[in-house]
């Protein structure tokens, strides 16, 4: 596993090239964002198995569905935001026929900081999660991508949405030892006062928040929920029981995203006081991702403050 200092999209581009050597039926399809998504790297190496359909996201998805229905192994890769205009194609072709199409949404969350609200996809997890047969995976960093993408492309059959960012890719999970399994959550740090559940690059803030909390005497368990669907009900229930408080943190809307997914599990398994941190409106342009995290109250200090608020609200 080579973990060079690259961005998430660069890591995906390189990995797809490696997988192309191994898998003769692997086909990459993109919609005029080959360069931006790094899919073009695959195209240089395997021109016959690389299709750029032009600025046509609806066709992109159904074209990939056609390849899958005829026996190929397609990956449709484009900006997360604009894949969502093909939600109905994903639902009615890929989902309904349960096709082996992997959909990689890049530039998700705040990662496309400069382009602003038209490009910042903060609803994609919610939209993909509602589709029957569809799995949703959100890796946190390059290490998570190297853990998960080869297994997803080689061994997991059926529709799957894979959400990554653009350039902002802090190293988060390099020092943790776990293997990817669809439907499994990973406890990065054990704790007993509160469980903080998150995934994606924002997990960096969560781990730093945990350090600040520890100084205040709050011992937080940190759970990397890379696999949002299927979801690890067992781990979530164990930590709700153990900690009694759950906070979710996501670079996504709190309506229908990771936080909602966790709440849906806990409300039936073991309800505990929760706080859902994320967005509830559109994004905006900024010079960098950190400015956006700051603006939307999703930095480590803001997360730590929210955790304290939750704990004090119920511990009077």
């Amino acid at each position: 596993m080579e973990l060079a200092d690259v961005s998430m999209r660069d890591a995906v581009g390189r990995l797809l090239c490696e997988l192309g050597d191994e898998l003769g039926d692997l086909v990459i399809v993109t919609a005029d964002v080959g360069k931006a998504t790094r899919a073009y790297l695959f195209g240089i190496k395997f021109p016959g198995r690389y299709f750029n359909v032009g600025i046509s996201e609806q066709h992109l998805i159904d074209f990939a569905a056609g390849i899958a229905v005829a026996g190929g192994r397609p990956i449709a890769i484009a900006f997360a935001m604009f894949l969502m205009r093909a939600w109905e194609q994903i639902r009615n072709a890929v989902g309904r026929m349960n096709l082996n199409v992997k959909i990689i949404g890049t530039h998700a969350g705040f990662s496309d900081h400069a382009d602003g609200s038209s490009h910042q996809s903060l609803e994609d997890i919610a939209l993909m999660r509602t589709i029957p047969n569809m799995s949703v995976v959100v890796p946190s960093d390059v290490a998570d991508i190297y853990r998960s993408l080869p297994i997803i492309v080689k061994d997991i059959k059926g529709p799957l949405y894979y959400r990554i960012g653009r350039d902002y890719s802090p190293r988060i999970t390099n020092d943790y030892d776990y293997e990817f399994k669809l439907g499994k959550a990973y406890v990065l740090e054990d704790g007993y006062d509160v469980a903080i559940v998150s995934s994606g690059p924002i997990l960096y803030e969560v781990l730093n928040a945990a350090k600040e909390l520890r100084k205040l005497g709050v011992n937080a368990a940190i759970i990397n929920l890379m696999s949002i669907k299927p979801i690890d009900e067992v781990t979530l229930e164990i930590y709700a029981r153990k900690c009694g408080y759950v906070v979710t943190v996501e670079e996504h809307s709190i309506y229908g995203g990771l936080g909602s997914a966790v709440a849906e599990v806990l409300v039936t398994k073991y309800p505990v006081p929760m706080k859902l941190l994320g967005t509830s409106t559109y994004g905006r342009s900024a010079k960098n991702v950190r400015d956006l995290l700051n603006y939307y109250g999703l930095t480590a200090p803001a997360v730590a403050k929210s955790v304290i608020e939750l704990l004090t609200m119920y511990r009077r």
Partner: protein
Amino acid sequence: MGSTLSCVEILTVLLTKYVKRSSNPLEKDWLILSKGHAAPALYALLALEGLIPYEELFKMQSIDSMLQGHPDTSIAGVDVSTGSLGQGLSIGVGIATWIKLRGGSGRVYIVMGDGEQDEGEVWEAITHAVVRKLSNLIVIVDDNGYQLDGRVCDIKPKYFMPFIWSTIGWAVILCNGHSVSSLISAIDRALVNEKPTVIFAKTVRGKGLKQIEGTDIQRVELWS
């Protein structure tokens, strides 16, 4: 029902003379009923082929029937699930591309509606099919002159469609969609084309049922 009756001859000619069945996805021919609301015509032909039980036709759309209101791959003989307009062609372009890439001999037949031409995805697909030089792709447009809300010429005229497909680079053939010999002659010509072919088959909505022929009536009680 009118839309089902307008494409009976098209589907009959395709399924009884052209579409070759095989378990090999690269050697079989694919039939996609992109105008999925004409499912009853497809089901009747699948029953004739012996792929589904004849009695099932009378249970169509009931809770215990395998026959869904729109084609579904859970039904034997249905290659692609459809029902949402404008998607069948894109899926067909994907299948035809994969077959060509793998050196298969299979062809892809797609039956579309004329109203369906309104969908933006059709533009996305017809422009891409030409780039891929898909000689194994044949589209038949059931040109019955009606869409859900009324006559095509009143809702959104599409008389220019053959010119658009032609300008983009498709081979365009016009034929009578109720004449078996006209359809056969058109499809035979399409089979030898070196580029993707679209056949605009002029039809009459509700053909054969006098109460609704050439009207936009959706349903008729035959035994009332």
